[in-house]
Amino acid sequence: MATPENKLAFDGGWAYDPAPESTDHIRIESRYGLFINGDFVKPESGKYFDTINPANEEKLSRVADANQADVDKAVAAARAAYRGPWGRMKPAERGKYIYRIARIMQERAREFSVIESLDGGKPIRESRDVDVPLAAAHFFYYAGWADKLDYAFPGRKAKPLGVAGQIIPWNFPLLMAAWKIAPALACGNTVVLKPAETTPLTALKLAEAIADAGLPPGVVNIVTGAGATGAAIVEHPDVDKVAFTGSTNVGRMIQKKLAGTNKKYTLELGGKAANIVFADAAIDQAVEGIVNGIFFNQGHVCCAGSRLFVQESVADEVIAKLKDRMETLIVGDPLDKNTDIGAINSSMQLKKIQSYLKIGQSEGATMHQSSCSVPKKGYWCRPTIFTGVSQSSRVVQEEIFGPVLAIQTFRRYDEALVKANNTPYGLSGGVWTDKGSKIFKMTQDLRAGVVWANTFNKFDPTSPFGGYKESGVGREGGLHGLDAYVKLGAR
């Protein structure tokens, strides 16, 4: 095995010069109102809050803080549009509008991706290559369904629900907006959407795109704010459907509030995915998959592969290779095209991650971080792995939502399976083996909504996504995603 003198050296020597994506083509207003009834309007609350760049803590813009009155206005506008032009529109026409949003998103892809990275801290490589193209793909995909709902639900008549209240998180701001808005519109609903308070800008840019696409006023309304604004949407009596993506705690609160109402809901909550590497796996590619599983988007991914299970006979090799690979990850300016890991989304999240680093160490685990330096200003966390953890460790049980991986070993298939399923969550999982039969067995046995084999964190609009147990209720994406936005009646 590796001896100290056989260690690879990645620092010193040739290094990549900064290659920053330019920001001169983007436009961010100094202040944003609420997008209600087709226009940006001043908030009834009269209040605004700052949104900052987590990479340097500088203010990007001020954004309206919507109160109950603002939410009332937005819901009323959505209701009027539902009763009016949108509800009466032929499905094929509806589809055209959704296609138009998708195309505008593609045309403005650079602007969207730069703003996404500025506001949220994610590397431009990811916002450019993943977030924005996938968001556009969701609109394209659901646009196609708008006039084909009879084929999605054979023998049934699919009718829209009415006004959908949607609350999205800060980890994939634009992509989550697309996941929510596209199927809602395709099924004929109207929308009141609240982006997360730390990342409102791309949703507001999307509002501009929607206005430019000429959607009838009120079909999509975007209200910014924090928890109270979200609560006002959830509890609004004229909202027919609630779609939430975020923490399990908030999800629980929402589910309690909705009990006894006839609102339909989908909840996309936390996760603590097991990534299981068998000894017969393609080891080098598995190491890539581990890296992609936990360090993608700084680990701010609900389906992140945050628990690694490695078969004992290859554990030393996998961990040594993982450490080498971590040394080559470039942490820094999110706008640099070579950055692999950007800034932590907010100071609050950074504190939470740091508290888990302390917890892990105090639980007796061995912590290893890559040796990279991080900028002084802004919120940063080096890629981190914990070894010597057990199922009873908090860093194994709880969702950290950061670039922190907990590694355990296993000997037998059964042991890996039991440990993998031994969690309150069940959103995703990964299996790495060269043996097809083992893949099929494991994917059947894992209790998780998505299981990837010999890959990780792959998304496609045609594929349903959602969790078991505390990871949520309902599915988004694909044919299943339509179900959440329709009521089915007889033909």
Binding site: N6, A9, Y16, E288, N338
Partner: protein, 308 residues
């Protein structure tokens, strides 16, 4: 090294320990290397490094002593209009041209690489291959680029392939041995990985992708697989084996992608002509053109760079 000493230092590897390779995963990793944006000083540094790693090659039936002399001249004087350029690592020719190259490169620190062992097919007897190798070394080759017997490898006769490499290594004497796997004929990355392990254990100083006579020649996927095999061999034995992708690398941009891949897979210790080579005939001029562009801001016509 004495024959017996060579034999003692090698051992047939346990091929059951060779890890599987997932081609989809390799494609993804390669795509990541290709998104690296190399600009400004880091680009100039990379381009100069690429020049110093080139094995300037001519391997044609119609090669003449005159052409080889021209190539050697180019190897020494890449582009005198631009001062401060390195020279290439080696000139690579057929055995019959080695003496010509030796004379033309006299007094210069440029290696003479010769293909041998019934290049490019390797379809001959061991005796002929060893004679071929000895002849090239005797004529002055400091590096031997041998081909493995792909037919035997594909038939599963790994022992034969291994023994043949060991024997050629012995015949090389002090000359460095590059073992060409001809990956375009092996078919899968699993086989590439296995052949790499076999060659390294048998005594290769370098492992090389291709002869340039078979398509596909070098690809980033194949090269990454071989680099990962080199890394594991280093971890296990402490020996640093070199890598030479050959054939099909004609542009600066692609060559820089290879350097990024090398840098992020094996690290700094391999970023030298001692451990990495490009087998290429037309790459040098593209790199020179890019270097001139970096210094002057404009592209020059291809006619300002000598074609040899």
């Amino acid at each position: 090294m004495a024959l017996s000493a060579v034999r003692k230092s090698v051992r047939f590897p346990d091929l059951s320990k060779v890890p599987a390779v997932d081609e989809v995963g390799v494609d993804e990793r390669v795509a990541r290397f290709q998104t690296r944006s190399i600009k400004k000083a880091s680009k100039v540094e990379a381009l100069k490094l690429v020049l110093s790693m080139i094995d300037l090659t001519t391997l044609e039936g119609q090669d003449t002593p005159g052409k080889v002399r021209q190539l050697c001249q180019k190897a020494i004087h890449l582009h005198d209009a631009m001062p401060g350029l390195p020279h290439v690592a080696a000139v690579c020719v057929y055995p019959t041209m080695v003496s010509v190259a030796k004379e033309a490169l006299a007094g210069h620190d440029i290696n003479i690489a010769s293909v041998a062992t019934a290049f490019p097919s390797g379809m001959s007897t061991l005796k002929v291959k060893l004679d071929d190798t000895r002849m090239a070394v005797k004529a002055g080759a400091t590096e031997i680029d041998m081909v493995i017997s792909r037919g035997r490898f594909l038939a599963g006769d790994y022992r034969y392939v291994f023994d043949e490499i060991v024997a050629v290594k012995e015949a090389c004497g002090d000359a460095h041995l590059k073992v060409i796997l001809e990956t375009g004929e092996l078919g899968t990355l699993d086989k590439v990985r296995k052949a790499s392990v076999l060659a390294m254990h048998a005594g290769a100083d370098f492992i090389k992708t291709s002869t340039g006579k078979i398509q596909p020649a070098a690809t980033m996927q194949v090269t990454l697989t071989m680099l990962q095999a080199i890394r594991d061999f280093y971890r296990d034995t402490g020996k640093m084996i070199g890598m030479k992708p050959a054939g099909g690398i004609a542009t600066s941009k692609l060559a820089i992608h290879y350097l990024v891949m090398l840098h992020e897979t094996l690290g700094n210790a391999w970023m030298t002509p001692e451990r990495f080579r490009f087998g290429a005939s037309s790459l040098a001029n593209d790199v020179l053109m890019q270097l001139m562009k970096q210094s002057t801001g404009v592209y020059q016509s291809a006619d300002y760079f000598s074609k040899d």
